[in-house]
């Protein structure tokens, strides 16, 4: 199977590291001979239809910051041209999330479908904004579209709901879908520190981004709950439909008040028949959703299995890449006899 990797940042590099590490395992367990035939970043691309050397690619990126410096095979080609012209079965889209336009990832995905390539992505933007449009492209061109890593990183949820829990009607999904806000609230509660202090510290530790707006305003969680609503509960909603409240007004006193009543405060994304909201909620101290630190958690309410709860790591290069790898493997297993 041949794959084009679009975006060679934290996640792109993580995918390459994971594939490099699992090469033999993939071959012996699934008979999957996985080749990365192109890698793209903002500088251009490295292309080899027989498969790039992954260690070289990582080294070039590490040392020069540009994949186009890959010896002999580096080119200043646009990403769309790579998607159109390089022969491959699938693309892995890992450019930055844009929750206003979904670009450039949306164009990358549509071009991939149009050019006969399956799409695997970790990118929330286009999914939260144009879910139906993208899935109809996938259907029209008869290609597979997988996006497990876009919600909850390594925590299994989309494929769990659609495949493992097949046959169940899922009536409600709620959870902590953003690790940064969970880290901040956990720390504020434990150390009785105010929001700004903990945010600053999280930024210094690299847990929160320099621009944490999307995390603390709840927008990131909103994008994820919209993806779950559309993909698992067959809704047709967009970020604008989410009733949104962030965590910036939470104080240590509020957390103490919550504790006195037997609760903690978490930023919860929630979708059910007539609810689509993101906001701070009281969660009982002994509830399975009270997970600490930067963990993610989700609870699915289903008609047959009743409540199902999953916990996992919502971010991290290797963790998130594990979800991308599992999507690659399932595309391979579904198409190997074609």
């Amino acid at each position: 199977m041949k794959v084009i990797l679009v975006g060679f940042g934290v996640i792109g590099k993580g995918v390459v590291k994971v594939i490099d590490k699992k090469k033999n395992h993939l071959k012996s367990k699934y008979g999957l001979d996985l080749k990365i035939v192109a890698i793209c970043d903002r500088s251009g691309a490295a292309i080899d239809e027989n498969g790039l050397d992954l260690k070289t690619a990582l080294k070039v990126k590490e040392e020069t910051g540009k994949i186009s410096n890959y010896p002999e095979k580096g080119k200043n080609m646009s990403i769309v041209d790579v998607i159109k012209t390089v022969d491959a079965d699938a693309i892995v889209e890992a450019t930055p999330t844009n929750i206003e336009t979904g670009e450039p990832a949306k164009t990358h995905m549509i071009e991939a479908f149009k050019n006969g390539k399956h799409v695997i992505t970790a990118n929330k933007g286009p999914l939260a904004l144009y879910f139906n449009e993208l899935t109809s492209y996938a259907e029209k061109y008869n290609k597979i579209f997988r996006y497990e890593a876009s919600v909850g990183g390594a925590m299994p949820i989309i494929n769990l709901a659609k495949e493992t829990l097949a046959g169940n009607e899922i009536t409600e999904i709620k959870g902590i879908l953003n690790g940064t806000t969970n880290y901040i609230l956990t720390k504020m509660e434990k150390e009785k520190l105010d929001f700004d202090t903990v945010l600053k510290e999280a930024q210094e530790l690299g847990i929160a981004e320099t621009n944490p707006h999307q995390d603390i305003s709840g927008l990131d969680t909103a994008a994820k709950i919209v993806i779950l609503a559309n993909s698992i509960m067959n809704k047709n909603v967009s970020i604008k439909d989410v009733k949104l409240e962030g965590i910036t007004r939470i104080t240590p006193e509020a957390l103490t008040m919550a504790n006195k009543s037997g609760y903690t405060i978490k930023l919860i994304g929630e979708v059910s028949e007539n609810k689509l909201e993101v906001g701070p909620k009281l969660i009982p101290i002994d509830d399975p959703m009270n997970v600490k630190g930067s963990l993610n958690v989700a609870m699915l309410n289903t008609d047959l299995a009743k409540e199902v709860v999953v916990v996992g790591r919502g971010a991290g290069d290797i963790e998130t890449s594990s979800a991308i790898l599992s999507d690659i493997i399932s595309v391979y297993l579904r198409t190997k006899n074609e």
Partner: protein, 180 residues
């Protein structure tokens, strides 16, 4: 107990039968003060309704109140009378059989809780439920304060309460963090 026929219990469709007679379970939440249980049971037996058992629901979260399950004989068309009588006495009935009538919700409020007329806030919530256990903390008169409260409310009024909370939140710039 009413007569001396052989006791026969049956569990059928979650309804209990006793001598072929319907039994009704009432879940109450009593104030944790002496005499409160007797105060609740007396009017029931004064109406001639049999009380079969009284069970303390200790496993449930209490927060200052005592949850008790009372099993009574089917008061027939007098069930409503029993319920009304107890509610007149400010006794909280959370469930009748398996049907949840009332539920406890907890709310933490952040903002200028006192300065924005806390009395008015509570009065407006009391139109839909009953605010109990209000607790305020004011770290500094210029900073936002926080409060916690419990609201006992009929389940079918929850949506209306949410709408009222949204309205108050907008008018008074208060953040309501809810347990549901």
């Amino acid at each position: 107990m009413k007569n001396n026929k052989k006791q026969k219990y049956n569990n059928f469709n979650k309804t209990l039968y006793y001598y072929g007679e319907n039994m009704i379970t009432l879940d109450l939440e009593l104030k944790d003060i002496p005499g409160e249980l007797i105060r609740a049971l007396t009017p029931i037996s004064n109406m001639g309704v049999n009380i079969f058992s009284v069970i303390h629901l200790r496993e449930k979260k209490t927060d200052g109140r005592v949850p008790v399950r009372v099993v009574i004989s089917d008061a027939g068309n007098r069930l409503n009378e029993v319920i009304n009588k107890l509610e007149e006495m400010d006794i909280i009935i959370t469930k009748v059989n398996e049907t949840t009538r009332k539920t406890d919700i907890d709310i933490v409020v952040v903002g200028h809780v006192v300065d924005t007329d806390v009395r008015d806030t509570i009065d407006r919530l009391n139109k839909y439920g009953l605010v109990v256990d209000l607790d305020l903390s004011m770290p500094d008169p210029f900073k936002e304060s926080s409060a916690r409260m419990k609201v006992i409310i009929e389940t079918d009024k929850l949506d209306d309460l949410c709408k009222e909370l949204d309205k108050i939140s907008e008018e008074k710039n208060l953040l309501f963090i809810k347990s549901f």
